[in-house]
Each structure stands twice: as structure tokens, then as C-alpha cells.
Symmetry: C2
Subunit: 400 residues, 2 copies
């Protein structure tokens, strides 16, 4: 029998999604599964985006330009980014198939096979996947759950840099941690990138989900780093249009954008109906985000307090995104999460969390950490957390 490639064999399965079959099996048994595991918010998409799809008059769903609809590129550059103080020309932005394609492009463009990219650990597990696909090595810098996963001393970066280092990849606010980096932290990272002439890939897809009064500080606004910064962004994430699969890659570096364009042409164009929704989403009123933030703050506060009240559980207070990393009193969160899906029910319901070890590169790290998303309304979340609490008491591999 013809054998599949080594890459196909060795490709890591998505840790976030590898428990999905167990969840599916539970659902087939009629069990309700509370999904605290994925970043699929239950927040409604903006009405203006939905309207743009429903009321579109197109009779031909044709290809768009490989770089995206001109209207969307213009709207993003001249309305959205301008409004938040990021100055770019539409030509410095290419619409991508969501943030996923944007991350992959940024890595593919900045690093050769065998090169290294520095990432703060824990990090979004698909960074690993995209690095793997491009033969790039992730050099992880450790952070500490006890100080909320903040950027460590800059010496840690200096120590991690080798002649093979080509880029630093940050996620701000962070998935899976929810950590928000201060202006000072971003400037310090920028200084390192400048000193070693590294690309700074800044994944800011959760920018509109920040829970401090200070405005989010974008890597695009680090002084004198124009040619090094590559911004990864997601239109569909921002507007709760996850399924639309629309994002963008942004850089002032013309070589980067010319390369991104070649890759973009290979896949012809980004999803056009999603782009139409995204054009509509540009009209999202400020109140929408205000309401979304208020809701997330309420949920976050509820969840963090609940989690920290469970014996043996510790989680910091995340200031962005809609996730937290929690330390659980278990031997292994992957075994625990699987056990919950297979064995633990209260009134025919169970709760799913994401084991966090795969968010770490350092072997053995994060084995008792889980990523928990506060993407459910409080009454639902309450039930989900109660099941989690009871599950932790009943789990055979508990450590307290």
C-alpha cells in the first residue's frame, strides 16, 4: 500500500481538537457537553455583518483579488486601523484565510527551514503546527503562571537568541493565557528585535478583547521597527465571525508583502462571502465592543473567582482574550479531560477543557495546566464549572 509522507505521519494532531472524538461520542450518548475548551464564543455576530450577507445582491460569487476585496482592504486600513492609531496603506495589508493563514505566512516568510523563532511559553498550539510544517524550530522562553505569564526579563531573550534565530512571535493579548503585555514590555521586545534585526511577528487577533483602561499597544507602533514587524490579525475573530475565515497580514516591509502576495496568489483568493460579511462588520458600532467587553469581564470575574475557590486550583486574572490557564490538582490534564468526557456526568452533562501541555514546548511543563475559555453565559458557565469541580473530586488521578 502506498505510504503517506513523513510529514503527514509526524504532523502533530491538534491538541485542542484531538479530544473532539470523545466529545462527539459523549454527545452521541445524549450527554450535553459544556465547551470550555474552545474559543468559540457564544456572542452574536454584529448585525451589520449578518445583514451584509443576507442583503447582498450578488448573482455571481466570483473570485476576489488574491489580496482581498479592495473595499475590505481600504476599509481595514482607512477606517479600522486608522481609528485605533495604526497607520498603514491598503497596499500594506493582504486579506488572508483567517488568522491561521496569516500566522503561517508570517512564519514561512520570515524563517528558513532550520531557523528558530522565539515564542513565550505557553503559546497557541498551532504555532507549533505551522512551525512544524515549515521546518522551523520554536525556542520557547518560559513564563510563570504565578505572575500571570508576564514577559520575563529581557536577558531571557538574549539567552535564547542564536545565529539561527530569525523572528520573535508574540501573541498579545495571549492565547492561551489571556495575558496582556504592557507598552513597556512590547517596547523591550521591540528593542531586542531591533538589536538582533529579527522579525517581530505580532499576533493581535484578540486586540479588541482587553479589560484594562489603557489602550492596547500594537507592535505596529513600536518606533523604528517598521521593517521588522509583521502583524497577524483576524477580522473574523474580532467580530465574532469565526466561521467567516477572514484575517489579514500587515507589514510596512515591502519584501514581506511582495512575498505574501505570491503565497496569496497560489490559493487564488480568500473566502468572498466572508469578506462581504467583514466589509459589513466594519460598521460595527463602538457599543457592540463595549457590551462584549462588559460581558466578558463579568464572565471572567465569575470564572476566575470560581476556579480559585476550588481546592488545589490556581489561575491568574487574565486581562485580555477569553481564556485562562489554570493549574488543576490532577496528574495529567489530558487524562483528566478525556476521563471527564468518557466517565463523568452530572445529570447527563459533562464539561470539556483543553489540556495545556501542548501549549508548552519544554517537556513536562504544563502537564497539570488546562486552558479554560469563558465563552459561555454565566448560568451555563456556572453549571459547567460545578461539573468541573465535582469531576476534580471524583477523578482517580487527583493529586489532593
Amino acid at each position: 500500500m502506498a505510504t503517506i509522507s513523513r510529514k503527514a505521519q509526524e504532523m502533530p494532531a491538534s491538541a485542542i481538537r484531538k479530544l473532539v472524538p470523545y466529545a462527539d461520542a459523549a454527545k452521541k450518548q445524549g450527554i450535553k457537553v459544556y465547551h470550555l475548551n474552545i474559543g468559540q464564543p457564544d456572542i452574536k455576530s454584529p448585525e451589520c455583518a449578518l445583514k451584509a450577507i443576507r442583503e447582498n445582491k450578488l448573482t455571481h460569487i466570483s473570485y476576489s483579488h488574491s489580496a482581498g476585496l479592495a473595499e475590505l482592504r481600504d476599509g481595514l486600513a482607512n477606517r479600522y486601523y486608522k481609528n485605533i492609531g495604526i497607520n498603514i496603506d491598503p497596499s500594506e495589508l493582504i486579506v488572508t484565510v483567517a488568522g491561521s493563514e496569516s500566522v503561517n505566512l508570517a512564519l514561512e516568510i520570515s524563517c528558513n527551514e532550520g531557523d528558530e523563532v522565539i515564542v513565550l511559553e505557553p503559546f497557541y498550539t498551532n504555532y507549533n503546527t505551522f512551525a512544524f510544517l515549515n521546518g522551523i524550530t520554536i525556542k520557547a522562553i518560559q513564563t510563570d503562571i504565578r505572575n500571570g505569564f508576564q514577559v520575563p526579563a529581557i536577558e531571557e531573550f538574549e539567552k535564547a537568541i542564536t545565529p539561527k534565530t530569525k523572528a520573535i512571535l508574540v501573541c498579545n493579548p495571549g492565547n492561551p493565557t489571556g495575558t496582556l503585555y504592557s507598552r513597556e514590555s512590547m517596547l523591550a521586545i521591540g528593542e531586542i528585535a531591533r538589536r538582533h534585526d529579527l522579525f517581530l511577528i505580532s499576533d493581535e487577533v484578540y486586540r479588541e478583547f482587553c479589560y484594562t483602561d489603557e489602550p492596547h499597544f500594537s507592535a505596529m507602533n513600536i518606533p523604528d521597527l517598521d521593517q521588522n514587524v509583521i502583524l497577524v490579525d483576524s477580522v473574523s475573530k474580532r467580530y465574532n465571525l469565526c466561521g467567516a475565515r477572514v484575517g489579514c497580514i500587515v507589514s510596512h516591509n515591502k519584501e514581506v508583502m511582495a512575498a505574501a502576495m505570491k503565497f496569496a496568489q497560489a490559493r487564488l483568493c480568500p473566502p468572498v462571502i466572508g469578506q462581504i460579511a467583514s466589509v459589513g462588520a466594519l460598521d460595527t458600532p463602538e457599543e457592540y465592543f463595549v457590551a462584549v467587553k462588559e460581558e466578558y469581564i463579568k464572565r471572567r470575574d465569575y470564572m476566575i473567582e470560581y476556579l480559585n475557590s476550588i481546592p488545589g486550583v490556581y489561575t491568574p486574572l487574565p486581562m485580555g482574550a477569553f481564556y485562562t490557564i489554570a493549574e488543576l490538582p490532577v496528574d495529567d490534564t489530558e487524562k483528566f479531560a478525556k476521563w471527564m468526557l468518557e466517565n463523568f456526568r452530572i445529570d447527563g452533562e459533562t464539561t470539556m477543557v483543553t489540556p495545556a501541555a501542548s501549549f508548552y514546548k519544554t517537556p513536562g511543563k504544563g502537564i497539570n495546566h488546562a486552558r479554560i475559555a469563558y465563552v459561555l453565559e454565566i448560568p451555563e458557565m456556572k453549571k459547567a464549572l460545578r461539573i468541573l469541580e465535582e469531576g476534580l473530586k471524583a477523578y482517580p488521578g487527583r493529586t489532593i
Copy 2:
């Protein structure tokens, strides 16, 4: 300044799209450009697909399953494929971001870096791109414009196979040639794949655009080749929903599908609104395809007759898809196409064709070939072809 990767530097620019800036420049001058260069048909998308988008009641455009909406997978397997005599289970099909992702996946899964894939030349230029991205070498087998680019003697395959050969990639009906392979040809290719245990990647995205009375013969129906065939398909192409970006990869080989699933999870999910349109498109009545085929046959007949009436032009009669490769009496079709866009106008209008050299792997081949698509209505096409005819007379690099 931080340097972009070698891959980013060496990535070939899309030959199909690299003339786009010249077309854009012409349009900025107010010139009308007839696009005979791309596979963007002016055929309306099916009403049921458009209706599915307009009348959808979704308030949350959320992620779908990484493998696609269950409704779409079921519908494709149990309605579309069943209806055309291809028997698959929904689990043997993963929804992709159009045919583009499907081709890339098929190559990535079947071949290691350094491996070889056999392709009949001329071939869709992005096969080259995706092979490049995966470090795979394309071994081209030559075909002959004078016999309509038919599958050559099977000895040619034997000659091309080396220990590094892992797959044969065919496109049937073919882009850019419009060539339709007979059942016998497909069985012969299948026999070679079986004998050498190669994957047979069959790109059948133009299956519904066949202009003979015989039904299209799918690689999925080659006997005793279940574990070797990987089908590349496009829902958005089939239903004139090019911008929806929905396709699929299909195989009975469980290892192939498990690998495809891992890759699919890395990009989270295919475009959901496009998938909704695709579910709607499954209701497309047979009459739609009948009318589309009639229209294309009319256009094809008109175009082929016109082209062959121009002195020095030769093109065979394509039996599928909506392209033809024509030999033009010019030094170099790339120079000619660029010259047309920059210099040649009749009443403020010009015509764009795709230079075909990039569809060939063999150096020097196809230099005077162009891909011409019959995607415009006859009155428009007539004007476009007249401009082409006059351009050929006026072009300084003409060879007759």
C-alpha cells in the same frame, strides 16, 4: 534589514496572475479589458446557493467542524457523489478551502520532500507552486497539442518513474488544456499506479463541464485502486461559486484521511458561509448543468472556430472545462500578453490571455502557447477575439 526566507524569495509568482498589475494599470487608464485569461466564468451561481446565504437565519457565524459541516459532508457523499456513481462514506471526505487546499494536501500527504510526482504537461501552474512549497519535484510527461493533449503511450510513464516517484497527478478534464481523458486512458494510468504502488491524485474539479455524451469517468471508479486514489474536488468551481472557496479531498485510504484531518485541524475550519452556500447548491437542478453545458459548448465552438481561422493560430477542440491552449504566431506569449495590455487597444478596449509557458515544466516548451478561457458571453467574446486577432497582426514580435 531582516531578510525574508529563501522560500519566500524563490517562490514562483503566479504566472496566471502576474500580468494582473498590467491589467489594473490599463483599467486605471479607462481601458476595458476582456478577461480571456482566467477561469472566472460569467455564469450565474445557482439560485438555491444564493438563497441559502440570503435566507440563512444564523446569528453566530461560528467555526464548523474542521472537516466541514456535517450536512455538507453527508450531502456530498450521499447525494452528489452517489448520484454520479461514486460510492463514499462521509468520513472519507473532508471539506477544504477550495480545490487549492485539496491539491496542496494531496501532494503534502503523498510525497516527501525530494520525492517526485508525475504530471502530464501542460498542467495547472499552481501544481508547480504547491510542489515547490512542499519541496516536491514535478516530472513532466509531454503531450502533444496536435492530438489534443491526450494521454501518451503508457511507456512514457514507465520511463518517467524513478525510485523517488510517489504519485501521479492528473487533471480530468484538464486545466489548461480542456482535454477529457477516456475511461481507457484512466484505466491505463490506474494500471501504472497499481503496478508501482503510486498514489493517483485525480483533480476532477471540472467534472461537470464535459461536452461528450459519455459520462465522466472518475479515478474513484478505477477497480482495485481504492488505497491509492486521492480525489481533489471543488464545490465552488462546480457550482460557479468560485469565491465561496469550498472544495474537498476524498479517499478510501484511512491513513490519507487521518493525515488530512490533522492538516485540516491546523487551519481550524473551512469557510462557513461558503459551506452554507454549498449546502444550498446541492439542490441545484439538473437543468442548471444542462443549460451551463449548452452555453459552454456554444462558446467553445465559437471560440475554437474563430481562433483556428486566424492565420498562424492552432488550437484543438477541448472536450471539457472552459479553457483551450492555443498556439499563437508570436515569439513569446508572455511578451505578447503584456504588450496587449500596455499597448494595444481597439476603441479603448483590449484582451487579456494567459501565457502558457508556465504550464510547462520542460524548458522552452509552450513559449508560443496561450491559455484562453471561454468564460464570456458570445457577443463579448467576439469583441475580445477580434481584438486578439488584430493584436496578433500588429504585434512587433509576430512570427508570420
